[in-house]
Every structure is written in structure tokens, then in C-alpha cells.
Amino acid sequence: MISLKIRLAYTKKKEAKYIAHLDLTRMFDRALRRAQIQVAFSEGFNPHPKIAFGPPLPVGVESEREFVDIELQEALGAKGAFLAEMVGKMQKQLPPGINLLDAALRPKQDKALMAVINRAHYRAEVPFKEAVTADILDNACQDWLAREEVLIERTKEKNKKNQKDVRPFVKKLQILQTQLQANEQSRAIMFFDLVTGNQGSVRPLEILASLAELEQLPVDLPGVAVVRVGLYVEQADGALLDPLLMLK
């Protein structure tokens, strides 16, 4: 069977942010079937559609740019035109909040998204329970970054907890914008540059919870809105490449 490997970039916003990572394969498979685009299936006893994603996005977190690799059964002539047409057909079958941004063909030996993506950028809108000055905020971040080790506790399965040092996973922690008037609730826009991939990762909410605990920053955690703004492949020279644009 001739198959065709493609990579798509898409957003995950609005209600779609509540679609869990494990449910995404099913969602895409069904959308493709409605669009009458034939996905390739794995061989064997229990065939599953060849659809693969990058690092999981936590439920409730929006994203401006996610990636998915799909293998299709169809062969084609004019590749460029086919891709555009396919993206159009598929978009009609995707839920609000999932917008296809770009598509590219993958070469035969191209590595899986999970194998290559190692950096993630997030932006968070962070409200505070009480007034916070720019200095307090800045100092808290600096102090936190100055720590050699930051242990956080994670619950694994039932009752099992383990500790993990998340400090090595945080490359940058920046304040992009603050809104700290006396009358209104204080808010800040923060930026996170994080290491991700098979060796582990850290969630922005975990960092914010840690800032609240270790640096006494009065973060209103349930009010935080996190957006993943990009996923990257870090090169030997430190350059960050977009996993889809690098195929073009």
C-alpha cells in the first residue's frame, strides 16, 4: 500500500482545550472518516490508526500551535494542491477551537514528534489574590530561578507520591506585562521557556504553585489561564526550530 505521511499544525482553544490527550487520536480519526480521508492503519490483531502527537497538553490548557503526524492511505499526483484540499476538507469536520494552521509532507525517515520536540513555550495570565508590585513579582521569579533545586510533589496513581526536581526543566521565567492597579485585581502575563520530551517535563501551573509556596507569591491558582504558544526542536547551536517549518 502506498501511504503518505503528513504533519499538521493546529490550535487547541475554547472547549477543545478540555479534550484530553488520550482522546485526541479518536477525535482526529473520526474527523478524518467524516471527511472521507482514509487513514493508514497499523497491521496486526488490533489495528489502530496511524495518528501521532507531540508532548501532551494538560487538559484545560489552550494552545496556539500543536502538531500531529498522520499517515494516509492515498497516493497523489499534485502534492501541494492535495494538501491544501485535504486541510480544507478536514477543517470542516473539526470542533470549534481546533483550527488547522499549516501542513507539510514528511520525508520517509523523518522522526516522530515525540522524539524530536524538546522545548515548550507557554504564556499564562496570572491573577493574584492580593495586590502585588512589579518588584515583588520580579524578585519572586529571580529568587525562584536562583534555587539549585526545586522539589515538587506529584501524585502517581492512588496514594503514591513522588518528588521531582523541576528546576532543570525551566530555562526562562519572564514577566511580560503587569497590571497592578490598586482598584482592580492584580494580574501579570508571564512567559515560560521549558524543557520537554521523553526525559520529563514540568507544567506552568506546577511552577506557579511552587512560586506561591516557596516565594509566598499570592497567586490565585484556579484563575490562571495557560496557553502553550509553541513547541520546538532545539538544535546543537541552541537555535529553536518549529517542527513543521523545519520540514519545508
Binding site: K14, E15, A16, Y18, I19, A20, D23, R26, M27, D29, R30, A31, L32, R33, R34, Q38, V39, F41, N46, P47, P49, V59, G60, Q93, P95, P96, L205, P222, G223
Partner: protein
């Protein structure tokens, strides 16, 4: 316990914002956000009657329900009606909602139930009754009809449990008995007209009660004898002495939803469900569904194939299931299976059958059906000896079972599940030994075929006598006896190749009380929900001690309902509700059961149960030819 009612949020925008804040802290937030594929969001202002279909269990269970799919699509197909959905919030969500004063809301519009004209519950199992009341409580709607006014929505209910509606009678304005496809729209038309004319609920009820299948519990009065049994039931003028179910006459042509909602989180039954037939002709004497869904009506193969095509195109589902009470009995099952599998394979769509009742099933076909392969083969002999199988009229012999087991092992299956019931009428320990024996024989066949790793799962549920069945009069074994029987089997089935599963005895006991209860049980339900009983069908939430305390506090004798042999002459709490099957027939079936006499499948010999032809006619298809009787 403080009532959360007074200050509940009403504004849908505010509700939506508050939900957004609590969702990160609850399990499976996908249960509470809506927005699924094929959701129908109609304009509130442009529709006359606003209804919400409430499934009183968690989202992924409710979304698996065929009645929800049918009625959601059907009611929304009327321009003037709107139908949204609501489910029971899981306890973690309930707690957060109460903290934030969020009422139960409909997923389509985030509006609280209080905003709707009609709140329609489906009653699929007795152990969901506390959830019904809890949803009202969390919505700030008074539980009892007498405490609700004109400003409150109609609280109505349908589904299989309404064949004994009495335990919920004081809470529900009216019940819809039978199949809702034809009658529910007719009811909504009356409500639409009366709403426009500004009539009172009382006036509307007087009009509604004229419709077939509508039971208004407030129009009936019960008097009791000193021994607690019913002395008489009096129907108010204009209300029928007996309410007979409504039935879809032309099932083949009946409305069927192809564009169903596709959830993003996995539902329990997350696939296209094609209803191949309604009703069952086997006549198992313990089975309520087998009685109340009569007569048998099949859908034509042509129509099913069309529905399959459209459903896959609209939903993108990767699996189609042929559902009914007994799909292997469907006249065209082979034809439909073969054509579907042939057509769907290249679309990556598999075809499955519900696992139960594969007794008479052709293993060659089962082999091709993927889902069966994954989940293992299931047989339901229900009882361990031929004598007891004759008592319950389960037309399966041990030979059938062993032959199919042999074919299954030969075809490559490695595990077989056997479903039994314990506590059946006339059961003795010999019958329990029969279960042990059968499991051993199945294993022996596997050994003979060289399958050393073969496993047998024995699942034993406890018999619950159900209204409108030949066993409706029978006393349930006491919890102590059921427990002893479970222990006995547990001891005898100690074999590492056998896995023994059994149900919580306490839950079956409460189920029996509610199944055969009358309206005096309302006090118990009210007590239970205030005390925190909910999700009683879920082992992790069922609280027997609380129920027992409730029985004590309300002075209700549980054994009167669960463990008492009802007299044949006695007026039963559900005698004023008719499924079309006559009490006379049920009584004859019961007497035949005690004599271990079987009754033939009514496809072969009509048993004169009373349903055909007055209620509706049996409809079967044989290739292209249509026969009725």
C-alpha cells in the same frame, strides 16, 4: 444539612465563568463542558417549549443511552421544541458546584434546569432514583410535586422503571409509560398550547391524562389494609383506571437518529448503535425487558444498511453495534452482518454485537466480529441445572453451551465468560453445584483441545424480582441467604483458571425494595438523598448502612417489599400500569415455572400474552418478505 437552594446562580454567563474556574480541579472535565460534535444548540427565543433530557447518572453512562439519542434528535427535529441534555455531576464536581452555588445545568446552553419548561428524567435502573432527587435538590427545585408551583418546570419521567412508578410518584408530575417516540411530541404540543394560553398545571394535567400512556400519580389515591397491602386504588374522574403503554406501531419506519452526538471523552458505549429490533420473543421469566417491550418488531435489513451508511458519514465512528435485547435472534442478522462488514472494512469501521446472549450464536460469524474477539465470548446460561433453566424458561441446554464453547476454543478464543443468577425461585444448592460443574466442563473442553492457558470467568448476580414479570410475586432471598450462596460458590470455585465475580448483596436488596415498592417508599428516598445517598449503582458510593438507617428512621420494613412472597390475589402497586401483557398470562407463566414447564419462543407458538394484536403486531422480516402475526 443546609439546603443549597436559596442562592443558586441563575445567570448562564455567570454559571459558565464559574464552571471554568472549577473544572481544572475535577476529574474528567470533559463531562461538564458540552460542545461535542453534532450537538444541537437551538435559539431559546425562537422555540416555544424548552425541554431538558436528564440522565440521572454520570455523563459517559448517559451518553451511551439509546433513548437519549433518539429523543434528543426527535424533539429537536420539531421547529417549536428544544431539547438539551443534563447528567448527574460526579461527587467531586457536585461538591465544587455547591461551594460555588452552581445549579445542575444543561450542557447546550449552561442554563439551570429551573429555566426549562420540562425536565424529563429517564429511569433506566432503580438504583438511580436517589440521583433523580439529588439533581432536583442541586437545582433548587422542591422534590415533592405538592411543594412545587406554576413557576417550576414540569418534572416528568419515562423509561423501563416507570412500569412501577410508585416509589417516585410523589415527586413526578406525570410519567410517560411505554415508547416515547410518538407520545412525547404529542405531550409537548399540549404543553405548548397551554403555555401560550397561560393555563395552570392542573388544567394541563386534565388534558394530558386523556393521552394514552400518560400516568398522573396525583390523580390516584391508595388505601391500605392493616397488613400493609393495598386495599384499593381510586382513580380521579377522567383518569383511566389502568394506564396502558404506548408503542411505536411502524418500528421499521420510526424516527432513528443518524446524526448523533459524538463525545470527545470516551462514553461507555461509544459507537454507532443500530437498533435492529425491539422486543424479545424468548420469554425468560425473570426478564422485565422481555415482557415490557413486547411485541417483537424487527427493522428491515435495507433500512439498517442505509442507517449504517448515514451514521458513519455523520459521526465518523469506527464501530457499529447491532443492538437489541437478543440480536442473534434477529431474522436477518447474518445478512446484515455480512453486508456491513464487507462495506465497512475499507473505511476502518468494525462491526460488533453486544456480548450477551451468544448462546445460539454461530461462532463462524462471531469470529469475524472484531469486538467480540477483543472482549471474550460471553454466554448467559443464567442457571446451573437444566431443571432451573426450565423454571426460568431459559431455552439453552448444557449441550448448546459446551458445543459453542468447543467451537470457540477451536476458533482461537482463550477466555469464556459465563453469566448466572443466584437466588432464582426454587433454587437449591444442587443448582449452585451445577454452576461449578459447568465451569469445570468448559475448562475440560479447553484442556482436551490443548488450550492450557484457557480461563473461565463465572459471574453471578443476585436475582431481583421485577414488576410485570412472571416472577413479580416471588420473594427475594434474604441478604443473609444470598451471602451464604456467594460464599458457597466462592469456596467451590477455587481454581486459578476460574475467576469468580459477584454483585454486592446489599445493592441487590435495595434494588428489590425499590423495584416492588409503593409510594410509601417516597419518605425513604427523601431521607436517603438528604443523608447523602447517590450513585447507588456504583460500588464505591453505595452506602448500605445509610440505607438501613433510613429504613429505621422512616419505619419502613424492607422485607415487606423485598423478601415477602406477594399473594396472587393481592393488588400490586403497579397493577394500574399495563404493559399489555395480562396479569393472567404472568400468573400462568409463574405456575408453569413452579412445575418446571417451558414455554415456546413466541415466534413459533403464540403464548397469548395479550399484546398482539391489540397493542401492536409482531413484525419479522425474512429476506424480502414481510410477515406479521
Amino acid at each position: 444539612m443546609p439546603e443549597p437552594n436559596n442562592e443558586l446562580l441563575q445567570d448562564r454567563e455567570l454559571i459558565r465563568r464559574k464552571i471554568e474556574r472549577i473544572l481544572p480541579e475535577v476529574m474528567k472535565p470533559g463531562r461538564y463542558v458540552g460542545g461535542e460534535w453534532n450537538i444541537i444548540q437551538k435559539d431559546w427565543e425562537k422555540t416555544d417549549v424548552h425541554t431538558v433530557f436528564v440522565f440521572p447518572d454520570v455523563y459517559e453512562v448517559g451518553m451511551s443511552n439509546l433513548a437519549l439519542r433518539i429523543l434528543y434528535g426527535l424533539i429537536n427535529s420539531y421547529q417549536e421544541f428544544l431539547c438539551e441534555r443534563a447528567f448527574a455531576p460526579w461527587p467531586d464536581m457536585e461538591q465544587k458546584m455547591q461551594q460555588e452555588r452552581i445549579p445542575v445545568y444543561a450542557l447546550e446552553s449552561s442554563r439551570p434546569l429551573m429555566d426549562f419548561d420540562v425536565v424529563a428524567f429517564t429511569l433506566q435502573y432503580e438504583l438511580s432514583y436517589t440521583n433523580v432527587l439529588n439533581i432536583l435538590r442541586l437545582s433548587g427545585i422542591p422534590l415533592r410535586t405538592e411543594n412545587r408551583g406554576e413557576q417550576h418546570p414540569w418534572i416528568i419521567a419515562g423509561g423501563p422503571c416507570v412500569y412501577n412508578p410508585e416509589p417516585l410518584a410523589p415527586f413526578i408530575d406525570f410519567f410517560l409509560i411505554g415508547e416515547a417516540e410518538e407520545q412525547y411530541p404529542a405531550i409537548l404540543k399540549v404543553i405548548q398550547q397551554h403555555k401560550a394560553e397561560g393555563r395552570t398545571k392542573e388544567q394541563t394535567l386534565v388534558e394530558l391524562v386523556k393521552l394514552k400512556g400518560v400516568y398522573v400519580p396525583g390523580f390516584y389515591d391508595f388505601e391500605y389494609k392493616s397488613d400493609g397491602t393495598i386495599a384499593r386504588v381510586k382513580a380521579r374522574d377522567g383518569a383511566p383506571a389502568v394506564v396502558t403503554k404506548t408503542v411505536v406501531q411502524d418500528f421499521d419506519a420510526a424516527y432513528f437518529p443518524e446524526k448523533v452526538i459524538v463525545p470527545y471523552m470516551e462514553a461507555v458505549h461509544d459507537r454507532v448503535m443500530l437498533e435492529v429490533m425491539r422486543g424479545c420473543t424468548r420469554g425468560c421469566r425473570f426478564c422485565q425487558a422481555g415482557m415490557i417491550y413486547r411485541p417483537l418488531r424487527e427493522r428491515s435489513a435495507e433500512r439498517l444498511l442505509q442507517q449504517a451508511q448515514k451514521s458513519v458519514a455523520e459521526t465518523g465512528y469506527e464501530e457499529i453495534s447491532l443492538v437489541s435485547l437478543s440480536t442473534s435472534d434477529y431474522s436477518c442478522v447474518n445478512k446484515v452482518l455480512e453486508e456491513l462488514m464487507c462495506e465497512m472494512q475499507q473505511k476502518g469501521v468494525s462491526v460488533s454485537l453486544p456480548s450477551l446472549r451468544l448462546d445460539s450464536f454461530d461462532v463462524k460469524i462471531a469470529e469475524q466480529v472484531q469486538k467480540v474477539r477483543k472482549s471474550g465470548l460471553t454466554f448467559a446460561p443464567e442457571a446451573g441445572t437444566q431443571r432451573l433453566r426450565d423454571v426460568i424458561n431459559k431455552g439453552v441446554t448444557e449441550e448448546d453451551l459446551l458445543r459453542t464453547a468447543e467451537a470457540a476454543f477451536e476458533a482461537g478464543w482463550n477466555g469464556i465468560k459465563l453469566y448466572y443468577m443466584i437466588g432464582l425461585p426454587t433454587e437449591t444448592y444442587e443448582d449452585l453445584d451445577g454452576i461449578v460443574d459447568q465451569a469445570g466442563k468448559v475448562l475440560a473442553i479447553a484442556r482436551k483441545l490443548g488450550r492450557k492457558s484457557a480461563r473461565v470467568t463465572v459471574s453471578a448476580s443476585s436475582f431481583v424480582p421485577k414488576p410485570h414479570t412472571p416472577f413479580q410475586w416471588v420473594a427475594q432471598d434474604t441478604p443473609e441467604i444470598l451471602h451464604q450462596k456467594q460464599e458457597y460458590l466462592k469456596k467451590k470455585l477455587r481454581d486459578r483458571r476460574i475467576k469468580f465475580l459477584y454483585h454486592d448483596v446489599g445493592a441487590s436488596f435495595i434494588e428489590a425494595i425499590l423495584a416492588r415498592g409503593d409510594r410509601r417508599l417516597a419518605a425513604l428516598l427523601e431521607w436517603a438523598v438528604q443523608a447523602g445517598c447517590k450513585f447507588d449503582g456504583w460500588t464505591e458510593y453505595f452506602q448500605l448502612e445509610l440505607w438501613q438507617q433510613g429504613l429505621k428512621e422512616t419505619g419502613i420494613d424492607p422485607h415487606f417489599y423485598a423478601n415477602r412472597q406477594f399473594e396472587l390475589e393481592e393488588i400490586l402497586p403497579w397493577d394500574h400500569i399495563s404493559s399489555g401483557v395480562t396479569k393472567d398470562y404472568l400468573q400462568k407463566e409463574y405456575q408453569k415455572a413452579l412445575a418446571a414447564e417451558v414455554t415456546a419462543d413466541c415466534r413459533r407458538v403464540c403464548g397469548r400474552c395479550g399484546v398482539c394484536p391489540d397493542i401492536a403486531r409482531t413484525v419479522k422480516f425474512k429476506s424480502e418478505r414481510r410477515s406479521s402475526g
